[in-house]
Symmetry: C2
Subunit: 317 residues, 2 copies
């Protein structure tokens, strides 16, 4: 069988990462260009074109399509990106149309969290699943819903905002303006802040040693390292994180009637202790018929998940 190739474009606020990816999800060539977001959309689009052009050189005949993962809401028809956070001045940009006309190559644009879910569907942990809930733990908490091997987009392409379901309606205010959103408890910044507070009452945690008593450098990675060294405090943090995530996911499982969960993003690096805690928490809270069906899996696209997810749009369509 002839190998098929796609270009994946991961459009970020500071960098555009691009790669040529096989239909098995292997990156064969990779580059990166600065987004120059502060110079406005024209400039950034120019950078995207520049990156694609460089990848196409000598390879154009092999490329089946271009996939772009973008922040913000995306309308499929013209690959229109709307108000992407971190890309000031974009408003509405028909990115898909612009790129496909430039290179005469079919171009697919999708929201980056949705692209990550499609990446797991096509290449990753969701390859053999009919439906799953994908959640990405990073600065924010993103998500995407795959139902019947299709992305569930909702009415305007914005479905799957798992980070903004409420787990405590009287809870902390979220950046989105609501209260007690899952992201408020699990976003990297909130997590680090919370742990810093708790460390004041846990002076015996190994974390102090690992950081030379300078908590300014506290990060999820340090918490993970400490937990691996047997630090009970850090192990508890991870278990509690999983439990809280499970409380939110149980609502999502109940309302979608989808029992498979895939977790990705930096914090997913906490590994088995996190996954076990999530699974137990979800099982304890979902409706009875769903309990035996719950599966919690680790995302398999790790490094370059952005490029791979974007490229998967070509093979998904």
């Amino acid at each position: 069988m002839k190998i098929k190739y796609a270009i994946g474009v991961d459009l970020g606020g500071t960098k555009v990462k691009l790669g040529i990816v096989t239909s098995e999800g292997r990156i064969v060539k990779k580059i990166s260009v600065p987004t120059l977001a502060n110079d406005g959309p024209e400039k950034s689009i120019g950078q995207i074109k520049k990156g694609i052009k460089s990848l196409l050189k000598g390879n154009k005949k092999l490329i089946q399509g271009i996939g772009i993962g973008s922040p913000g809401t995306v309308a499929l028809k013209k690959g229109t990106v709307e108000n992407p956070p971190n890309l000031p001045g974009w408003g509405k940009v028909h990115l898909g149309k612009i790129i496909s006309e430039e290179f005469k190559i079919k171009t697919h644009v999708e929201n980056d969290a949705n692209a990550a879910a499609i990446g797991e569907l096509i290449y990753g942990s969701g390859k053999d699943l009919t439906s799953f809930i994908m959640v990405t733990l990073g600065t924010g908490v993103g998500g995407g819903i795959i139902f019947n091997r299709k992305l569930f987009r909702g009415d305007h392409g914005g479905a799957g905002e798992i980070g903004h379901i409420t787990i405590d309606h009287n809870g902390k205010e979220c950046n989105c303006g609501s209260f007690g959103c899952l992201e408020t408890y699990l976003g990297n910044n909130y997590l680090v802040e919370e742990v810093r507070h708790q460390l004041e009452l846990n002076k015996d945690s190994i974390i102090y040693k690992l950081l030379d008593n300078n908590l300014d450098n506290l990060s999820p990675k340090v918490i993970h390292d400490a937990s691996l060294l047997g630090d009970k405090f850090s192990q508890n943090i991870i278990a509690n994180l999983g439990e809280t995530l499970g409380h939110g996911l149980a609502s999502v499982v109940n309302i979608f009637d989808i029992a498979n969960i895939i977790i990705g993003g930096g914090v997913a690096g906490f590994g088995r202790p996190l996954f076990n805690s999530v699974k137990e928490s979800v099982k304890s809270r979902v409706l009875t018929p769903l309990k035996p069906k719950i599966k919690v899996l680790k995302a398999s696209l790790k490094n370059n998940a952005g490029i791979k997810g974007a490229s998967s749009l070509v093979f998904y369509d």
Copy 2:
């Protein structure tokens, strides 16, 4: 145009209500038989057959199909009802197959909350909507999701369990075993109990007069009556109820990216004050792009919503 007819069967724990319904949702004939649930599934199925037979008498040629709304999870293929609450001993019953073989008429079975959503889609407030979230406020809080003019069933037919999304993960225990489910705050029994508590500190509420000081007869209807008479306490109860419901619905709106909400069931009788409160609450909490799109509508199938919803399955398919 020739009028089309369907039989709708509303299978309840104590009564089976049946009717002949036009494709516009008008009931032209209606009967009811006891379910005799305690005598086991055979007996109850016999009762359903008896009811259908009586409706078919002299009308069989006109009937396009039979729709059955049932408690429990339903698998579409053989119209299989699984573990319906209130119907002891049912386990798995291939109800659709049994009825269609008996009468040689195409038979559709669906969960009753889902059937209510399809009823609004075919006959009611959802007639002109592409997608909506249907919520039914009764003893429990039920729901159904219509996306792209289709019922979203999830992987096992159980999607749309809006009553069992968590709004406070440290909240009260729910009948389902989870904590802080929406139903815990909005189910009729919880509501009445909560109001009874609050009345102890609100001795000037008109409710005392309306009930001759006997709070045993407290019901949503009495709260509504008092609010119409200008009782501030009752008006607050209704506004708070709407606010809480809005907190839960905001999560559902965010994750499905569906901005239309239809509210039915007894408590929907609270009318405009409830609806306004829900709308304001949802708008204040959903993600920014969704705020201007939020619509909150009253269900239009009121009396006999069960029969009508069930019959709509015939015209939906």
